[in-house]
Every structure is written in C-alpha cells, then in structure tokens.
C-alpha cells in the first residue's frame, strides 16, 4: 500500500479527501494497476472541479436529476405502501441514488447489468417499470423476469451470489467476440463472500469486460465496515486480483458516471475488468424489516444528510442555470405523482395466479412433477381458488 492510500485510511470520510490526486477520469489512459485513486468531481456544495467536469449537455444532466428524484420518490412511495401492509419487505436505496444511477448511465442496451437488491434507480434507468418492481417486491412471480429487450440479470437475495454469473456473461462476450460490457454491483458486506473473490479472480484471469461496483454504504444490516473488513479500502480487493481499481465518491453522480464510463471503454476495448469502490452511505433501513436505531447512532447519520447526492447535484444544476427552485418543485411533484400513478396501476393489476408455480422450472415438465402439479391443482380446487 502506498503512502497515498495510507492517508485515505486515516480520513473519516471521502468528502474530506481533495481531488488533487485524481486522474482524469475521461482520458483514455488506463487507470494504473495497483493504485487506488479517489475520484470526486462535485464537492458536497455542488461545486465542480473544472478540470474534471465532463460538461454533459443540459438535457442529459436534467434527465439524470429526474432519475435520482424519481428513485427517491419511488422508495418513499414503496415505504408508505409497506407500512400500509400493501408491499412486501424491500431494501430502500435512499442516499445512494448517485451511485446507483451513475453506474448504469454509460451503458448501452447491448451492455448488461447485474444488480444487487438495492438498485431501484438503476433498474428504472434500464427499462424496468415501477409497476413491475412493485409486483416483484409484493411477491408476484411475474415481477422477476427482466423486461423484453432489457439485458439484466435478476438480482440475488443471497448476498454476492449474482457476481459470478455476471462475470460469466462477460466471459461469454469474450467468447462471442462482442464488444460490450457488464456492470455488476454489490455492497461492502458482499466483499466478505468467497464467491465474490472468485468472481474478481475469474474476471481478471479471463480479462472479462466486467465493471465491479462495490457500493460501500458502511453497513451490512447491523455490521459496520470496520467489523466486516480489516482493510477498509475495499478497492484494494480489486488491485489484489490484478484489477485496475478506483475509489469514487459514490454520492457524486458525475464522478460515478466518469469512472464507469472509462471502465466501460476499457472493457469494450478488450482491456478487462475494473473495480470501482463507490463510497456512499445507507441513509435509511437495510430493509423494511430492519430498525437501525438498535445498532446505529443517529449522530452518525446526520453528517451524511449534508452530503445528500440529490442536493449536491441540484446545487450544481442551479449554479449552471439549468434548474431553478420552481423547476425543482415541479420535478419533485411530477416524480411523486408518477410513483402514485404506478401504485394505482399496480393495484389494478390482476391477482397472482396460483396455478403458475410449476411453470418454467424445466423446459418440459417431467412426468413426476406433472403428477405433483395435478395434486396441487386438486388442492386449489378443494380450496376453491385459482379456478
């Protein structure tokens, strides 16, 4: 570990780290192996580093802002529905919108995305509808398959178990000589899973076009990072497998976009995987079944409110005269209404068909299973359901 990295360990949070050592995220020079760089473009006051600002066009910037506001509005709507007893347990991503949305923005439709379960904003960007995500978390089978034309893997509930298949998709791209890439995200807790280390190793050995986004939000349910890993710079995981790795301010959407975009270019050019540690914070619950007050001091959360990714980006856009407070209000209301409309549409969707549970396990249902299916149908009939 070099002196620069040692410094980072001593810092309390990423926002205290200046971007003076940051490489240009937009140039095409590959990130140096073995170096953990830190990328921040927007500071928490929404001021951009002029040398690093990608200067995205107004339309793109506004659409990104709307995507972040929508993701949060969706989370709040889902929380309300859950508290009303009309939604299952789910994992909110409040406070992580920059990271989640920034990582998929550089992807094309032919690139693939393999999310963890805390990825609403990204799934909406990729073409999932809010109604479908509601179906999914409300326990409907038809919520799970990625929509037609959306090259996403389903998220996994077993933490970290989706990362190896994502690498396999990347290996498949190499096999078929297709110049695309895969983004796979996982949390800090997942880095403790052996399967995630195996995934990093396979990607490195096969130069698979995979971008690993480690969303370090500080908590794995009740376990803080310091109890999860003795090496709290998780980007070191990447370098230890020979993967170019970078540490990014995960609450800075521009930094996330630039880092992922460069990693995607590297991947598509045949230069293999990149590991991005996105430092962020889980502002809310692990899931709706969780009560963080049992294990987390609220004082720890407060400073992160000032680092809110949406607030920061909003100030940047206001400074650029792309947004004013009226427009902010309008976007907020529109997004909240969109989430309400989705909820209403979701409530009008047909009930679950209990008859479908044997479908799709095999290409053709085996005889023995067919017999069990008939037994089950008989049970339904006796109960007078699913007619």
């Amino acid at each position: 570990m070099d002196a620069n990295n040692q410094d980072l360990i001593d810092k309390k949070s990423l926002v205290e780290i200046q971007s003076k050592n940051t490489p240009s995220a937009m140039n095409t020079t590959p990130i140096d192996l073995g170096q953990i760089e830190v990328l921040q473009i927007l500071n928490e006051h929404g001021e951009a580093d002029q040398g690093l600002d990608p200067n995205l066009d107004a339309q793109t910037l506004l659409s990104l802002y709307k995507a972040m506001v929508l993701a949060r509005a969706f989370d709040h709507r889902m929380l309300t529905m859950q508290r009303q007893g009309r939604m299952g347990t789910f994992a909110p991503s409040i406070g992580q919108e920059a990271c989640i949305i920034g990582q998929v923005h550089p992807l094309t439709k032919d690139d693939w995305f393999s999310p963890s379960y805390r990825s609403f904003g990204a799934q909406l960007m990729r073409g999932w509808s809010m109604e479908q995500l509601m179906r999914l978390w409300a326990g409907f089978h038809d919520g799970y398959p990625p929509p037609k034309g959306v090259n996403d893997l389903p998220f996994s509930i077993v933490v970290g178990s989706h990362v190896l298949p994502a690498v396999g998709v990347g290996m498949g791209m190499n096999y078929k000589k297709q110049k695309n890439c895969v983004v796979v995200n996982f949390g800090d807790g997942a880095t403790s899973q052996g399967a995630v280390s195996e995934a990093l190793n396979f990607a490195a050995v096969y130069k698979a076009p995979v971008i690993f986004i480690c969303e370090n939000n500080g908590w794995s349910i009740s376990t803080p990072l310091k109890k999860q890993s003795a090496n709290e710079i998780l980007a070191n995981r990447g370098t230890s497998f020979g993967i170019p790795s970078i540490r990014v301010d995960g609450n800075d959407i521009l930094a996330m976009i630039c880092a992922t975009d460069e990693a995607a270019k590297r991947a598509r050019a045949g230069n293999g995987p990149t590991f991005i540690e996105a430092v962020t914070y889980r502002m809310s619950l692990h899931t709706t079944a969780d009560d963080p007050t049992v294990y987390r001091d609220e004082e720890e959360v407060t400073p992160w409110e000032a680092r809110c990714p949406i607030e920061r980006f909003k100030r940047y856009l206001i400074n650029k005269n792309m947004l004013d407070l009226d427009k902010v209000q309008e976007i907020q209301e529109t997004c909240e209404q969109d989430a309400i409309n989705a909820r209403d549409a979701f409530y009008k969707m047909p009930p679950a068909d209990p008859k479908e549970i044997f479908d799709h396990l095999y290409e053709t249902i085996p005889e023995e299973l067919k017999a069990q299916q008939q037994e089950y149908f008989k049970r339904l009939q006796n109960k007078g359901v699913g007619q």
């Binding site: 089978h141 038809d142 799970y144 398959p145 990625p146 893997l153 389903p154 996994s156 077993v158 178990s161 989706h162 990362v163 190896l164 298949p165 994502a166 690498v167 396999g168 998709v169 990347g170 290996m171 498949g172 791209m173 190499n174 096999y175 078929k176 052996g194 399967a195 195996e198 995934a199 190793n201 396979f202 050995v205 096969y206 479908d359 799709h360 396990l361 095999y362 290409e363 085996p366 005889e367 023995e368 299973l369």
Partner: protein, 327 residues
C-alpha cells in the same frame, strides 16, 4: 463401431457435440493441455483451442457460477469438476443459480449447463474423492441428475445432456472409467434422459441400481440364474432425476419383489425415494418388504477398508434370496 472405454466414449461425445455446435464449450481444472486428471478431455483443447476448452482457476464455485453466466449469454458450457466431492464447493452456485435461474426469470434465461464429475469409490483414493452424493442433487428442484453405467450409454447420455436445455448433474462412475470396453457407434448417438433401462428381463424379482453398482448387480443376476435358476429383472436407472417411476412400478407389479442397490449413503438416499414411490404406486402388488443395500450413513472410509463399505455381488445375491424366501 469401435470398442471404447467409458473415458474414450465420453471424450467422443464432447468432441462430436463441439463439432456440432460452436456454443458448446468446456470448463474445468486441468482439462486443457493435461486433458483432465482422468484424461476425459484429452486432446480436445488441441482440436478446439483454449477459448472453447478452458483451463480455469482452482475454484469450483467460480467455475459453476461463471458457467451459469455463460449459459445466460447463449453458450452451452460443459463443466468438469475434478471429483464429485468437490461439487460441495460449488453448492452455492448450483443451488442458488444453476438450478433456479430459469424459474426465477420465469423462463427468460435457460441454463443449459452440464456439470460432469467422477463419483463413487473403488479406486483407492484419498478423502473426498469417493463420494456418491447424487441424492443432494435429486433433492434440488430444477436439476436433472444422470448417471451412466457403461461406455455406450455414457456417450449417448452425455450427448443428450449437452443438447438438453436444463441444467444437468452428470456423475460418471470412475470405477468404470477404464474397467471394460464396449462397442460404441461412430455416428453421434443420444439416449432419452429420464428413462430407465431394463437390462435383463425377469419375472421373479426386480433389482434396481445405477452407475458403478450395475457391475456387482450384473454378476449377482448371472449367479442367481446359473446357480438357482432365479430370473431377476435388472433395471439400470440411468437418470436419477426425473426418475422413471413408471418403468420401476411396472416391473415390481410384475415381480412383486424388489431389491435396490447403491453406494450412496442410506438416509434420504435414492433407494428411500424408490421405495416411497413403489409404496405409493405398487403397494398391493408387493409380496415382500423391499430391501435396500446401500452405503452406510458414515463418511466414505479410507481406502484400506473401502472394499468392505461398497455393496458386493454376494450380498446382493443373499438379499435377493432372502426377499424371495420372505413369506
């Protein structure tokens, strides 16, 4: 038509399937230049290159997990796990993704992965090299479990497994790998997965087994015929899951008596499942309790004493006579 060992027959199946479909690829530890520790993939890397025949890092979970992803991307990976005991490292990916991805995505992503692994005892190997835990996979929804018993059916079943769109655990009886030769047609041949084979027709009693245990069973059947004029109907299961219940039941309805042999542990084993099915479907035809000869519920013993752990033909003969004498 050549006389091949099971190792050569399996090699032929993979070679022909790779020639037939460019999406068929092989993954595993030491399967390339080395041709696999049992040489089942011998010369295939030379013929097809290292993109299609991949020497992987030493990580079974990693191999299976990435194979699942490659299958999602349209490939048909044939994975070699060096010994079936090492599939436990991959349990996570087999159970969480390989077996369930089709169901999870409601048919959007099929997983045509074949996981090949040598299984069973009898070759004087170290610990974890003699396991016979097919019951785990038969218990796992979404998988098919295939176990051949000789060169010809090994070749035909492996070819069929590679063409099958569902994930398959393909356990190869390594005690049979080079034990004998059989005529295997040059032209590609497949067998239907999910069908048991009546190897010897008989009317006195049904004997059910699979894999390496088919050899002592065949010996027992020949001895019983020769010494006691007993006509045993011998059934080779071939596919453990989905099980060909109908063939088993039809035979027991005819003979009224049944003995089952496998080397895997007894509790919740394959024999237990067969007995349950016969109980459900052929109870009123039974003349005697069904007997099972299986591995005991202990870890596979070290090899100085392994021969005493594995079922032998004498015991099968005795069990059949006992079942026939029961009244």
């Amino acid at each position: 038509m050549n006389k091949l060992t099971m190792v050569e027959a399996l090699n032929l199946a993979m070679k022909q399937e790779m020639e037939r479909d460019e999406n068929v690829c092989l993954m595993g530890e030491d399967i390339g230049v080395n041709g696999g520790v049992f040489r089942v993939t011998k010369d295939l890397q030379e013929q097809f290159g290292d993109v299609r025949v991949m020497d992987t890092p030493l990580a079974e979970c990693g191999i299976v997990g990435t194979a699942v992803g490659m299958a999602i991307y349209g490939l048909r990976p044939v994975v070699e796990i060096q010994f079936s005991g090492f599939t436990m490292q991959a349990f996570d990916q087999i159970e969480q993704n390989m077996a369930r991805m089709r169901n999870r995505t409601r048919g959007r992503y099929k997983i045509p992965v074949v996981l090949r692994a040598p299984y069973g005892g009898g070759i004087r190997a170290v610990e974890h090299h003699s396991e016979s835990r097919e019951a785990y996979w038969a218990h796992t929804p979404g998988l098919k479990v295939v176990i051949p018993s000789g060169p010809r059916n090994a070749r035909a079943l492996l070819a069929a497994s590679i063409r099958d769109d569902d994930p398959i655990i393909f356990y190869e009886p390594k005690a049979v790998y080079r034990a004998f030769r059989e005529e295997v047609p040059d032209e590609p041949e497949t067998m239907e997965i999910g069908k048991a084979n009546i190897v010897v027709e008989g009317s006195d009693i049904t004997l059910i087994s699979y894999g390496a245990m088919m050899r002592p069973c065949k010996e027992a059947v020949a001895d019983l015929k020769e010494d006691h004029d007993i006509d045993v109907e011998l059934i080779d299961l071939l596919t453990i899951s989905p099980m060909d219940t109908e063939t088993l039941c039809a035979s027991v309805r005819k003979t009224g008596r049944c003995v089952i042999v496998h080397e895997g542990q007894r509790t919740c084993g394959v024999a237990a499942e067969i007995i349950a099915r016969l109980n459900e479907e052929a109870f009123e035809y039974l003349e005697a309790p069904i007997k099972r000869i299986t591995g005991f519920d202990i870890p596979f013993p070290y090899f100085q004493v392994e021969e005493h752990f594995l079922p032998e033909s004498e015991e099968i003969v005795a069990s059949i006579k006992e079942t026939l004498d029961w009244q």
